[in-house]
């Protein structure tokens, strides 16, 4: 188990280095960093001096080493556009994105899992067919359209929920802002969370349903029935537990995509998160922010992947214990 964790950790570091390289190349070769920093009236001498000061004349691998070293200390330089440290900018936006993403993921899981179990157990009922039809819409409609539709219905027509922003936030521990503790914060979260989580919800539902149908056909379920175990023990014990292995994997990995895809939702709802920051950075060719965002997303993906792998092992004894004995 420990060896497994260490092996995975080494792989994770490797992945991060590759992403760091891409992000470094972006930083170094898309546009000239000096051009971005200076005004039009700077003399060539001043430019050369700045180039020397920034270390841009060093060999590329030295520069890359320096980039990685700084990134490891969360130093991504200064934003070209906003002229503030990128790390600060991201830190101020991170809570909004993570909160939205986590609430979306929880929503997707809490709704998708029971729907998947139900449609798997009773595939023929009217309700199951309805769920499936709905899920098809959820998968085929683009996120921004769902967001706009929700805004149209619940904000514009019914006036129940706010259509943009995060509402009032409370600061915890000096750096973390949360909207979960205020009424307006919570009501602001509902529409974006549904918009962002809907796709994953239908995905989880379809996945659980497929797995459930598959598992219910296996010999060990038939044998469990033949032993007279109750339907509850079979459906929610033996069957559900076996569907969870792939479900955990996919759901975990989806959290990464939720964070990444939050860009669209944040744009639709003017949600003050990293996605919005990134989009503005792209418009302004603000390379340090783009590079940092790329690294951060990759980092989150890797961490989530790592946790999912460990969970996977915790659920499945075949991986945890391994090897046929006796």
């Amino acid at each position: 188990m420990l060896a497994f964790a260490i092996r995975r950790l080494i792989q994770a570091v490797g992945v991060m280095l590759v992403v760091a390289l891409i992000s470094f190349l972006l930083f170094r070769f898309v546009g000239d960093p000096v051009n971005q920093l200076v005004g039009v009236d700077t003399t060539p001498e001043q430019r050369a001096q700045l180039r020397q000061d920034l270390g841009l004349n060093d060999p590329v691998y030295v520069q890359f080493g320096r980039f990685v070293g700084k990134a490891a200390r969360f130093d991504f330089g200064i934003s070209y556009q906003i002229k503030r440290p990128v790390a600060d900018l991201i830190a101020s936006r991170l809570p909004a994105t993570l909160e939205l993403s986590l609430v979306s993921a929880v929503f997707a899981l809490l709704v998708g899992l029971p729907m998947g179990v139900y449609t798997g157990l009773y595939p023929q009922t009217l309700l199951s067919r309805l769920f499936l039809a709905l899920s098809l819409t959820g998968i085929s409609l683009p996120t921004f359209l769902i967001g706009i539709l929700l805004i149209f219905i619940f904000s514009v027509n019914l006036g129940w929920l706010p259509s943009f922003g995060r509402g009032d936030v409370v600061t915890i521990g000096g750096f973390w802002t949360t909207g979960l503790l205020t009424r307006s914060g919570l009501s602001s979260l509902i529409l974006p969370a549904i918009t962002l989580g809907l796709f994953q919800m239908t995905l989880i539902m379809r996945l659980v349903r497929g797995e459930m149908l598959e598992v219910l056909r296996t010999d060990y379920i038939k044998f469990a029935r033949a032993r007279g175990l109750s339907s509850r023990a079979i459906n929610f014990g033996h069957a559900l537990k076996n569907t969870l292995v792939p479900v955990i994997t996919i759901t975990g990995l989806q959290i990464g995509s939720i964070i990444a895809f939050s860009i669209i939702t944040e744009t639709v709802f003017q949600w003050p998160g990293m996605g919005l920051l990134f989009l503005q950075a792209v418009q302004n060719v603000d390379i340090p922010i783009m590079a940092a965002y790329l690294l951060l997303i990759a980092f989150l993906f890797t961490v989530i992947n790592f946790i999912v792998d460990l969970l996977y092992v915790a659920v499945d004894p075949r991986i945890r214990i391994g090897g046929a004995g006796a």
């Binding site: 060990y220 044998f223 175990l229 109750s230 214990i321 006796a326």
Partner: protein, 351 residues
């Protein structure tokens, strides 16, 4: 004495897009208390379906369309689901073919055993665990106490099938249906597992319905044997009788195809021409008629019932004492094959 299991005129149908298939047609047999009944037949003959019908777990859309199944004299084929659930595992134990896939990979052996025990018996978790350990000892798992916390994948195939047997016997059922319990196992452990199963059932006085392809296993293990053909009974009787003096032309063909059992190394291997029909294409009359060397006129139009002979019972018109006499050359050939031709002999005295 009431039979442990009594199957009366069982009919199992499978509705499909191309019409309703009759997988089991008018099948009757009994299993006496403590008796081991072997069930043989080619692949697709309906052996597994019969087993599933008995335990009430036919895969949908298959359904029992007629007949009765009685366990200890009570009908069980029409029990409501909760009552049938109490019969499964408690009064009928089932063992499936593949021990590698019969156990839930995510649950410890001990948990699977205690869960089964506690489903059927009121006792403390501690007592159930003790019973689970005793069961593992009984089925010959070394270091049983420690193995309770092992997962299925930590056992070899033979050991897993022993665990499966322990699970099937956990609530001391009066009938055990074993569907090819050793087919998936290594040849070297097959005999051990079969003799273990037989011994444990004998100790408990449980009856066994042993489904298998292997006539050798039947010869060694079963008291009586039931031969199925295309979902119908071909012949049923004591193992010795059916093996040595088969009365149905199909059984006769089967037995001649196994020279070692006849003990005569010079016996000519008589292949039955053709193959068993698919469910959708069972011929009119006797299902075996296109392949039968003794076919009579009526065989293509009428269905034979099971007729008694001096030894077994077989579904063949040659044995129908009320039937018309077969052509002399057919009668001679059938008699030469050891069949007690009774058709056309009003006294049936030519046995």
């Amino acid at each position: 004495m009431t039979a442990t299991l009594s199957v009366r005129n069982l009919r199992v149908e499978i509705p499909t897009r191309h019409g309703v298939l009759t997988a089991i047609d008018d099948l009757s047999f009994d299993i006496a208390p403590g008796e081991v009944l072997g069930v043989v037949g080619e692949s697709g003959a309906g052996k597994s379906i019969t087993g599933s019908a008995i335990i009430g777990l036919l895969d949908p859309p298959g359904r029992i369309a007629g007949g009765e199944i009685l366990l200890g004299g009570e009908r069980i084929d029409n029990l409501p689901p909760p009552a049938m659930r109490r019969v499964r595992g408690k009064r009928i134990g089932m063992i499936f073919q593949d021990p590698l896939t019969s156990l839930n990979p995510l649950y410890r052996i001990g948990d699977q055993l205690t869960q089964t025990i506690l489903t059927h018996e009121k006792m403390t978790a501690r007592a159930a665990l003790d019973k689970a350990e005793r069961l593992l000892v009984e089925v010959g798992i070394p270091a049983a106490g420690a193995r309770l916390s092992s997962y299925p994948h930590q056992f070899s195939g033979g050991m897993r099938q022993r665990v499966v047997i322990a699970l099937a016997l956990a609530a001391d059922p009066e009938l055990v249906v074993a569907d090819e319990p050793t087919t998936a196992l290594d040849v070297s452990v097959q005999a051990q597992v079969i003799s273990l199963l037989k011994r444990l059932c004998k100790d408990r006085g449980a009856s066994v319905m042993l489904i298998t392809h292997d006539m050798g296993v039947i010869a060694e293990t079963a008291d009586r044997v039931c031969v199925l053909y295309a979902g119908r009974l071909a012949e049923i009787g004591k193992v010795r009788d059916v093996v040595k003096h088969p009365q149905h032309p199909y059984t006769h063909g089967l037995m001649t195809a196994i020279p070692s059992l006849k003990g005569d190394p010079d016996a000519r291997l008589e292949q039955i021409p053709g193959s068993m029909p698919r469910l959708g294409a069972i011929p009119e009359g006797c299902a075996f008629n296109p392949r039968c060397g003794f076919r009579l006129e009526r065989c293509r139009a009428e269905r034979p019932a099971a007729y008694p002979t001096s030894r077994s019972e077989a579904s063949c018109f040659l044995l129908d004492a009320a039937g018309r006499a077969p052509p002399p050359e057919t009668a001679t050939a059938a008699r030469a094959a050891g069949i007690e031709v009774r058709a056309g002999a009003p006294t049936g005295a030519d046995a």
